[in-house]
Amino acid sequence: MAEAPTAAEGFPPLSPIVLVTGKGGVGKTTLAAGLAEAAARRDGGAVLVEFGDGDSGARVLGRGSKVRHEVVEPRTALEMSVGRLLGSKMLAKVFTGNFAVRRMLRAAPALRELAMLDAVGVIADAAKGRRVVVDMPATGHGLAWMRLPMQMRDLFGSGGLYELSERLVRRLVVPSACSVVVVTLPERMVLQETLELCGALQREVGMPPARLVVNRFPAELPPDAIAQARALAASSGAGAGEAAEQLVALLEARESARAEALATLRDAPSVGVALRPLLLPVAAGDPNAAQVAEWLLREDAA
């Protein structure tokens, strides 16, 4: 078995653009807002980019945050990108207003995703060195997003969409300009899948993730708790014994989930991921951006 990642290795610095990716429901939005909040506290300002209607980021950030919250509507993003390519908003309107073109754009999701990445580049250009944290959509994993500009560049070969893809490869698929932060949960299969993706990010696009955050990590139980619960179950009469057995089952399930997750993370280097995981503990509720920011700053991971 490989050595456990050691705490002595610090985290690599994050680049000006940070893409936060992961499956739905793993806490991406919370972590993205936390990263932006931490950067804002340190640098005096930061930008959080969200795709869609934008209510999630606003809710997690709360009032009084110094983070600027940018909401990108995917359909508008495509129109804006086309406008920049054609050199005029009006031409873009004529173009995207065409019946056949509109139908094609609606059925070609890869183009919309390319435009969303383009929007990130434009926001970063305007951010003047402030950190830009992007809460990536749950659809499509980080690898697919990072591969897209190269694929589109190779597909188009020349023309406006080629130039756009080429620009995005140079702007985003470069570790010094853009970091990928992967969020996951401690459940074994989810973790395993995530680690394989992390390895592929490094091998296939040269973008090893800068952070791996395991959210809702169960707190460690006192060492003798399970043995004591077993002893109680063995020594008690019918009623109390049953209650103790329920407790044993619960504690065992918890402990084995925790041990499995740690073992999977220890074996991570076998899939080519050599990074120290950040274990965000199960909070007594739903943490907000400020709480996550404090945790990240404490861990020296912001």
């Binding site: 999630s56 059925a107 209650a243 509720g285």
Partner: protein, 362 residues
């Protein structure tokens, strides 16, 4: 009996897949032949149910009471574009071979968001033509966009039912099209000119080629699209909104409710996972008894605090959703911890059994 469909929708991480499996199990235990389809297969759950992740319907083995009546279809997301081609071009080997070499296809094979949902539905459409089921339980994708696939087959179908494909084909060949005069043609030429600035001729030819191949199988596609639409929007379809106390649960549920409304649907019930109604009796009993060793007492404290936090979060969720989705009955479920996911499915099915008339119209 005609097929009844239950669609489970909800944001990510709310336990939709487990809930769908448990609901299907509860129906199968009552004697109904049930097929559960997961759009985002959890491999651990699949293996716990004895089901392969592929494009076939498999009998699931979860318990004795459901034997022979519970079936699952868990398509592999990474193979979905290929499955799509296999399905559509089953009788057209030459067109299929051309399609598999098309550069645009090769790109889409990897990047097409939404494709997997469409393919899953098509596999369902095929499955129900081949087998008889009483119930179909659909586990949607784990995001707000989970319901987009309801309209996606129709969107793809209109793409080449209309003029778009002809137009693209003419453009790739450099044709003027059927009419070359008048205002309409002038407008079109302008758009074509703009198109040429974005995409080079080779790619355009590949794109047109792709649509030409698809046009060969458009009748097959249209039929599968109609069957899927019927399944999702027919009179015998129910929608369940699944939620859990995660940060975005309430906002997600509200978004999905509005999305359903646009589809002319209304959720039949809310299923609230990990929304414990109370700290379990056995836990309180142990605490009252007292006299516990130090480590055990500390562990009990941790566990109690977590139950309590979930109970408060569950109360809050029920209250918020009661306001945003008024008049829709809620089924509140406790957190279940077990090592084996099939054990969780069985326990959840026990809890759902008394509510089947509400959830499934049994």
């Amino acid at each position: 009996m005609s097929l009844r469909t239950i669609v489970c929708a909800g944001g990510g991480g709310v336990g939709k897949t487990t809930t769908s499996a448990a609901l299907a199990l509860a129906l199968a235990r009552q004697g109904h032949r049930t097929l559960v389809v997961t759009v985002d297969p959890a491999r651990r759950l699949a293996s716990a149910m004895g089901v392969a992740v592929d494009a076939e319907v498999h009998e699931a083995r979860v318990d004795q009471a459901s034997t022979g009546r519970l079936f699952a279809l868990m398509p592999e997301p990474r193979r979905s574009t290929r499955t799509f081609i296999d399905l559509l071009f089953a009788d057209e080997p030459e067109a299929k071979a051309r399609m598999l070499k098309n550069r645009v296809y090769l790109l889409l094979a990897d990047a097409a968001a939404g494709m997997h949902e469409v393919v899953s539905l098509m596999l369902v459409a095929k499955a129900i033509e081949e087998h008889a089921f009483d119930y179909l339980v659909v586990d949607t994708a784990p995001s707000r966009q989970g319901l987009d696939f309801v309209s996606y087959p129709g969107r793809l179908a209109t793409l080449y039912e209309g003029r778009a494909v002809t137009w693209l084909g003419n453009l790739a060949r450099g044709d003027e099209g059927e009419s070359s005069g008048g205002l309409f043609a002038a407008g079109r030429r302008r758009v074509e000119g703009l198109f040429g600035r974005l995409v080079n001729p080779t790619t355009l030819a590949d794109l047109a080629g792709l649509f030409a191949e698809l046009a060969i199988v458009k009748d097959r596609f249209a039929r599968l699209a109609r069957v899927s639409e019927q399944l999702l929007l027919g009179d015998l379809t129910r929608y369940l909104l699944v939620a859990a106390p995660t940060g975005s649960a309430a906002a997600d549920a509200d978004y999905l409710r509005r999305r359903l409304k646009r589809l002319g649907q209304r959720p039949t019930a809310l299923v609230l996972n990990r929304a414990d109604e109370s700290v379990p009796d056995w836990l309180s009993a142990l605490e009252t008894a007292g006299g516990l060793a130090a480590d055990l007492a500390a562990a009990l404290g941790t566990v109690h605090a977590e139950f309590h936090a979930r109970q408060r979060a569950g109360d809050h969720l029920a209250e918020v959703l009661g306001k945003s989705v008024p008049g829709v009955p809620a089924v509140r479920l406790p957190t279940l911890e077990a090592r084996d996911p099939s054990q969780i499915v069985r326990q959840l099915a026990d809890r759902l059994a008394p509510r089947l008339s509400l959830l499934a119209g049994v």
